[in-house]
């Protein structure tokens, strides 16, 4: 990648808040520039590359256990190749390895890829750029947040290299299973590593989140009022608030689990007889863990999807050459979703013996959250209406997201109906729901972001033909994998089963599983294309001009170089909202935010 640092030019542009840069940046060495960098753009790239690698590993894990589900007991050279002779002996996996793979796959995807990776990449890249700031409020904390994230990712994978194997109680690691080493091998050292990794991850998320919040509040450039912020920044901002409010709860949740595991406390344990022995602990409750976990866990799923929706808002508007429909309604929806996401967590616990009345309350709040979600979907569709759609690969991914967000959201309404959840809780129906609404949607959103902002990340373009193939392959494979999964759930097949062959009643479902695994193979294959395109274009892709998509937002007013401090001269001044596309009476179909309002011109969508 070419790094034409405009160091000298950047001098006069520095504002007082980052004068400390001036002191060292002449001695910038390779280490401070690429490794322990405090520059938001470099940190963004670090998050992205780490996330791409983690996503790839997590995808390989899923492919291995999909092979087991489609052809239980069969030997596959590739399993042996990937897992080695210990875990992949004879090209097969045993139940414990299966559960370990499912657990680490889920944890890595949810936290490392779609939380750390997604927010880490795009909040870091776009918050300073789009609000017109020279960098994050604290470059140092920002750097720390990446390195905690990196350490946490390494420790999470470490589990595969220890004798007893990684954590294997599912990504939710409910105690007592996860608390008692006697209960399964995965609850030994592997679980300790999981907890250490997650604690570091939480620190990273909190450092990052606080930084994002402060930056958005404090460092907006002149004229950038809250109602002129691009929806991306709104999404990142609310996401950061959700994270700062909910991650500490996960931290306590994990801490109490650490105590129960190591110091003989009984927060989550009571009346247990295991391994031929009655345990001393009484008076705790595993249900307490579930409450604490899901108090984070539900906001967490929105921490994942909101940034993806934010990216989508921007990409759909830019490429439809139309203002995003209902800008204020979109902000309202983000805020409503953010608020409601804190009072719905109980819908993961309908079957825990929860008081049925309390269950009803959670049914009510959960279904409320579907309203702002629906508003967002309708607004996206209306933005396309009578547009002039330019099909960049990013635009395809964004439209794909709208589709999966709708299909997955609809099955959420079924699950939120506690009476219906009785029969489908913890079945493959749930797996289908959350993969479509969260997994696939957020991955599509993230890809959209990568294609769209690649010119800002690496100053070059990705190959569009490979991008098209990547999109269609991924989109088709996603529905190929997850659509039939609903039916497995409705046939009564539980989640997290190593094999269904212990139940003859499931034998007629085996070809559904083969069907699913075949599409999983397709999905994996097209990701290889992406991987190639990503690294190839980073170094050899065609160089991008300054504003390749004719966008209005501020990041495209900076030169196509990794300028330290972002703008070589003074900071840009903002005069209008970011969505003036195809505004009547203008000679171009876009009006950058830095263009002053004409006389009598109304801002914010009026004209």
């Amino acid at each position: 990648m070419s790094d034409n640092h405009g160091h000298h030019e950047s001098h006069h542009g520095h504002d007082s808040h980052d004068h400390h840069h001036d002191e060292h940046h002449h001695q910038e060495s390779f280490v401070t520039k690429y490794i322990f960098s405090m520059d938001h753009k470099t940190i963004s790239r670090q998050f992205l590359i780490t996330a791409v690698i983690m996503a790839f590993l997590a995808m390989l894990m899923s492919f291995i256990f999909r092979l087991q589900l489609a052809w239980p007991g069969e030997e596959f050279a590739i399993i042996n190749f990937l897992l080695g002779d210990k875990m992949g002996k004879d090209g097969m996996i045993n139940p414990e390895t299966y559960m370990a793979l499912v657990t680490i796959h889920g944890t890595v995807m949810v936290f490392m890829v779609l939380t750390g990776g997604l927010s880490g990449t795009f909040s870091n890249l776009l918050i300073p750029y789009q609000i017109g700031a020279r960098d994050m409020a604290s470059g140092f904390l920002n750097m720390l947040s990446y390195w905690f994230f990196f350490l946490s990712s390494v420790i999470m994978m470490w589990g595969f290299f220890i004798e007893s194997g990684p954590a294997s109680g599912g990504w939710t690691v409910y105690p007592p299973l996860s608390a008692l080493p006697q209960a399964m091998d995965g609850s030994k050292m592997g679980m300790t590593l999981w907890l250490v990794s997650m604690s570091l991850f939480i620190i990273s998320a909190l450092l990052a989140g606080l930084n994002y919040i402060v930056t958005v509040i404090q460092l907006r450039t002149k004229g950038m009022t809250m109602t002129r912020l691009p929806l991306t920044v709104w999404a990142f901002f609310v996401t950061a608030i959700l994270g700062v409010l909910s991650f500490p709860v996960l931290f306590s949740c994990a801490l109490l689990l650490i105590f129960d595991r190591s110091f003989g406390t009984s927060f989550y344990l009571s009346d247990i007889y295991i391994g031929g022995q009655a345990l001393e602990q009484t008076g705790g409750s595993p249900i307490l863990y579930e409450h604490l976990f899901w108090f984070l866990g539900h906001p967490e799923v929105y921490i994942i999807i909101l940034p993806a929706l934010g990216l989508t808002s921007e990409i759909i508007s830019v490429n439809s050459r139309k203002p995003i429909f209902g800008y204020r309604a979109m902000i309202g929806s983000i805020l409503a979703i953010g608020f409601l996401s804190f009072i719905v967590w109980g819908h993961h616990m309908f079957m825990t013996g929860m008081n049925p009345f309390l269950g009803s309350v959670f049914v009510f709040t959960t279904l409320l959250i579907a309203i702002p979600s629906a508003v967002k979907a309708f607004n996206y569709i209306t933005t396309l209406w009578k547009g002039n759609i330019r099909y960049t690969p990013a635009m395809l991914f964004a439209i794909g997201l709208v589709s999966t967000f709708i299909s997955g959201g609809l099955t959420g309404i079924i699950l939120a109906d506690s009476a219906l959840d009785i029969n489908i809780h913890d079945t493959q129906f749930v797996t289908a729901h959350f993969h479509i609404v969260m997994g696939v949607s957020a991955i599509l959103g993230m890809c959209a972001g990568v294609y769209h902002w690649f010119p800002k990340l690496f100053l070059r373009h990705m190959n569009k033909t490979l991008g098209y193939i990547h999109f269609w392959g991924t989109f088709i494979a996603a529905y190929g994998v997850f659509f039939p999964m609903h039916f497995l759930g409705l046939a009564g097949v539980p989640r997290r089963y190593y094999s269904n062959s212990a139940f003859p009643m499931f034998d007629n479902l085996i070809d559904i599983n083969i069907f699913i695994t075949s599409f999983a193979a397709l999905a994996a294959a097209v990701q290889l294309i992406f991987l190639f395109n990503f690294f190839y274009s980073m170094f050899r892709g065609p160089k991008s001009e300054q504003n390749p998509w004719n966008s209005n937002t501020l990041e495209w007013t900076t030169p196509m170089a990794n300028t330290h401090g972002n703008w070589p001269g003074a900071l840009p001044v903002v005069h209008r909202w970011p969505y003036d596309y195809s505004k009547p009476g203008k000679d171009q179909d876009f009006v950058p935010q830095t263009v002053p309002l004409a006389e009598g011109e109304v801002d914010g969508g009026g004209h």
């Binding site: 595993p286 569709i381 659509f483």
Partner: protein, 360 residues
């Protein structure tokens, strides 16, 4: 060695694609076009693909329904389950309608408004009326869904009939045990500290209510048409007692007792005669026999049974934690239960205890 070859192959493959892309890019820059610029031709192709996807997607959805729906669970064998199934279909009908409409509009717009020269874009930033409509309509639909849903939920989770029969289902890694309350229909006390090799459930000998309790492994029988109140306990980790055929489920949580009650309506024998079930069993047996033949073993034909399975990840054999459930006629049930002695029965109590211990 093989590993090494695979790596070499991967690297060579990547290089090959790299050169292809390079050649492609050079060729297009020779022609004077920029490969990264999106042309009208691109837009048109992708727009057509969007429309094509719409049709293919709905064909696929319908194919899924036709092909996979007949493998779903048979008709519910419990009273409340029929209501759940009705509610599910009712909600699904609404949601499927929404799914269809939104997807048609989404992909149709994506097709229709592809970018080309001379197109007239409508600058539309918001429209209060439209936005009101699509806030209020979902709100109304959701209100209907909530009202129907909570009505059923309240009914299903209301207190059990005081005369219902009480059965305990006890979970441990990786099996189930059932305890019948005996003539007094009351379960005796139990305590995890009393668990021994012969007293699997930790039953308290001193508890008067427990004197007539009966412990059964491997299968659980319940009489048709009678409400059963299940009480769930777990010895070690969280399990979930899932009775798919009865649309019933409840977590089993160590340290507490959870409950769920339902009324079975179809005996096992009757269910085996259901045409839908017969068809499924036939298909399953065809698959099983074919597999057995391929492996050169013989396989007893599968017979339909209700099942209780574990639905909360609980350890390495989570996938094989099951118990047969048999719904009998009242008379058959009584006959069956009469063959089972009470756990604390006077001699030959030893024999019973031994039997239980052995199965473990």
């Amino acid at each position: 060695m093989i590993k090494f070859l695979v790596y070499v192959a991967i690297i060579l493959g990547a290089l090959a694609i790299g050169y292809l892309v390079r050649v492609f890019e050079l060729a297009s820059s020779l022609k004077g076009t920029k490969p990264e610029v999106i042309t009208e031709k691109d837009n048109k192709l992708q727009a057509r693909l969007m429309l094509f996807f719409l049709f293919a997607f709905f064909a696929y959805v319908i194919w899924n329904l036709v092909e996979f729906a007949p493998r779903m669970l048979p008709v519910s064998a419990s009273e409340h389950g029929v209501e759940i199934d009705w509610l599910f279909n009712f909600n699904m009908a609404i949601l499927f309608f929404v799914f269809t409409i939104t997807h048609i509009i989404l992909f149709y717009f994506a097709f229709k408004y592809y970018g080309r020269k001379g197109i007239q874009v409508t600058y539309l930033a918001h429209d209060n009326k439209l936005e009101m409509i699509w806030t209020i309509i979902p709100a109304i639909v959701l209100a209907i869904i909530i009202i129907f849903g909570l009505k059923s939920w309240n009914k299903i989770t209301s207190d059990a009939d005081p005369n219902s029969m009480i059965v305990e289902v006890y979970a441990q890694q990786y099996n189930w045990t059932a305890r019948y309350a005996g003539a007094d229909n009351k379960l005796g006390d139990a305590n995890y500290r009393l668990i021994t090799a012969t007293n699997d459930l930790g039953m308290d000998e001193k508890s008067a209510e427990g004197k007539d309790d009966i412990i059964v492994k491997n299968e659980i029988h319940i009489p048709v048409g009678k409400e059963v109140e299940f009480k769930f306990r777990s010895r070690d980790v969280i399990h979930s007692a899932y009775f798919p055929h009865f649309r019933a489920q409840m977590n089993c949580v160590p340290g507490m007792t959870t409950m769920f009650h339902f009324t079975p309506t179809i005996t096992t024998a009757e269910m085996r005669k259901d045409p839908y079930v017969i068809q499924q069993v036939k298909e399953i047996n065809a698959i099983r026999q074919a597999a057995a033949k391929k492996e050169g073993r013989t396989e007893k034909p599968y017979e339909f049974n209700y099942i209780l399975l574990c639905n909360k990840i609980c350890g390495k054999s989570h996938y094989d934690m099951q118990m047969r459930v048999v719904v009998d006629t009242e008379a058959d049930y009584k006959k069956w239960l009469a063959t089972k002695p009470a756990f604390f029965a006077a001699p030959p109590a030893d024999a019973t205890k031994k039997e239980v211990a052995e199965i473990k």
